[in-house]
Structures are given as C-alpha cells and as structure tokens.
Amino acid sequence: MFQCKDVAEEASNYLEGDLPLRKRIGLFLHLVICSCCRNYLQQIRQTINTIATIHPTEEHQTDTKALAEKLRALSDSESR
C-alpha cells in the first residue's frame, strides 16, 4: 500500500509517466483517498511550471559579447 512518504519520493517519476504499472496504480489509489498528496503533486507541477517560466540562468562572469566577437573573428580566419 502506498504511503504519503512514497508519493513524496516518486512524485517526479509519476508526473513523467516513468513508474511501472503496479506502482502507478498503487500511487493513483493513494491519491484517490489522500488530499494532502493530491495537493503535494499539484504543488510540484506548479514548481516545474514556475521554474520553466522564470528560466533561471547559470551564473557566470563571461563577457558574452566579447566571446562572440572572438569566435566570429576565428570563424572568419578559418574560412579564408
């Protein structure tokens, strides 16, 4: 029998459809009777959508303009 703790551990796999059938059914049956876990899964979905919308980026100190120019110059000299 699935417990809340199992739902917390398998939430991503469940949302991605990566659980084997037996586990998927077990988790689904738990969700039918447990509003906490339904809310938890909904929060994880919202978290994923929020991350995709914010699209946080990797922190770096590179001057991308200068790098682009350096690469363009390299490409130019390679093609001659």
Partner: protein, 203 residues
C-alpha cells in the same frame, strides 16, 4: 511536463548559414543562448575549477567544425555534446569522485508518522498559474538564488530537462549518467525548489 524550447529546423539551418558567413548578430545570439548552458554541463561533469576553460575550448572546436555540422541533432545538443566530451576527458584526468549517496531525502522524515503518513495537512497553493506566482518579485529572487545554490549536476539536469526540453536519453549521454540517476537528480532539484517556495509561503 517539460517546456520545449526549440528552433525550427529551417531557423536553425539559417542560423548555421549566418554563423558560417560570419554574421555578428548570429554569433551574439548563439553565445548568449548557449554559453550558460554549456557551463552548466561542464560544471556538472568536472566541477567549477575547469569549467570555463572547457567551455572556451568547446566553442573553439565547435566553430572550427561548424562547416561540417550535419544537423543530425539540434545545434544546442551538438554544442552540449562537444562540451561534454571535453569535460569527460578532463574528468578522467582529474578522477574526481562524485557520489549520489549523501543522505538526501525528498521530504524531511519528521513530516511523516511511523507508518509513512503525513502528520500535517498539505494545502493547495492559492495561485493557479506560474504567472501569478511570479508577480511576486521576492519569490522570483528566492527561486533564482535557490537554483544557483543547487549542486551542479542537479542544476544541469533541471536546466536541460525542465527548461530546455532535451530528451532524457540525450541528457544521460551528455552527463554520462544512467537514467535512474538522472531521475533522482531531477527529483531532488525540483523538490529543493518546491521546499524553498513552501518555506517562503509559510513565513
């Protein structure tokens, strides 16, 4: 669940032609779009110390090889693969050990009773859409900061899967990890950010 961010094949072909022709705007575009992503991959494989150097080398290799790019994968995946190859070679030289066995737990054990049931109610969040969540500037800063504090391999997984829409098999190949490890990293990253949002809402 994931958000697809892909150039159409026609747009990509045109972008590659512009790069080969030395178009400055095209270079600005690819560097601004992909440099951070390439750094994420390099940091995940080999760590912070060598990542910048590996990505610089990957750019140079990619630009030299660009006229021979056959389009079997997207430009993004190709750049990440070149970065990954460089990082893996460096990693083998450095022999850094990485372990997933670090006592991580998806939700703190003290939130469950001895039978694994939740002790407290989990209530739905009021805001239904990410946009509503994002109207809150403070929350946006918390998410961005928490993202940057994630371990590099979790950050790479979350970025490539949830933000860039790469396939799981491509990501496993790039990061050189099994699909079960990839799923663990993805779930840990999502759960950490979920905790941060939850903590903020509980204040």
């Amino acid at each position: 669940m994931k958000k697809k961010v892909k150039l159409s094949p026609a747009d990509e072909q045109s972008l590659i032609k512009q790069l080969i022709n030395g178009d400055a705007k095209a270079f600005d575009y690819v560097v601004s779009q992909y440099h951070g992503l390439m750094l994420t991959v390099a940091r995940a494989i080999v760590g912070e110390a060598f990542a910048d150097e590996i990505v610089q080398d990957a750019w140079l290799s990619a630009i030299k090889a660009l006229p021979n790019f056959e389009g079997r994968s997207s430009l993004k995946t190709w750049l990440l693969q070149i970065t990954s190859n460089g990082a893996k070679t460096r990693f083998k030289r450095e022999q850094r050990q990485v372990s997933l066995d670090d006592g991580w737990e998806s939700v703190s054990h003290d939130k469950f009773d001895e039978r694994g049931h939740r002790l407290d109610d989990v209530l739905p969040w009021d805001e239904d859409t990410p946009d509503a969540l994002l109207e809150n500037e403070q929350l946006r800063i918390i998410i961005e900061t928490s993202f940057r504090q994630l371990p590099a391999n979790q950050r790479a997984m979350l970025t490539m899967y949830d933000m860039e829409g790469l396939d799981m098999s491509e990501i496993c190949n790039i990061l050189d990890i099994s699909s079960s490890n990839a799923r663990v990293l993805l779930h840990r990253a999502r759960t950490t950010l979920h905790h941060k949002i939850e903590e903020y809402r509980g204040l």
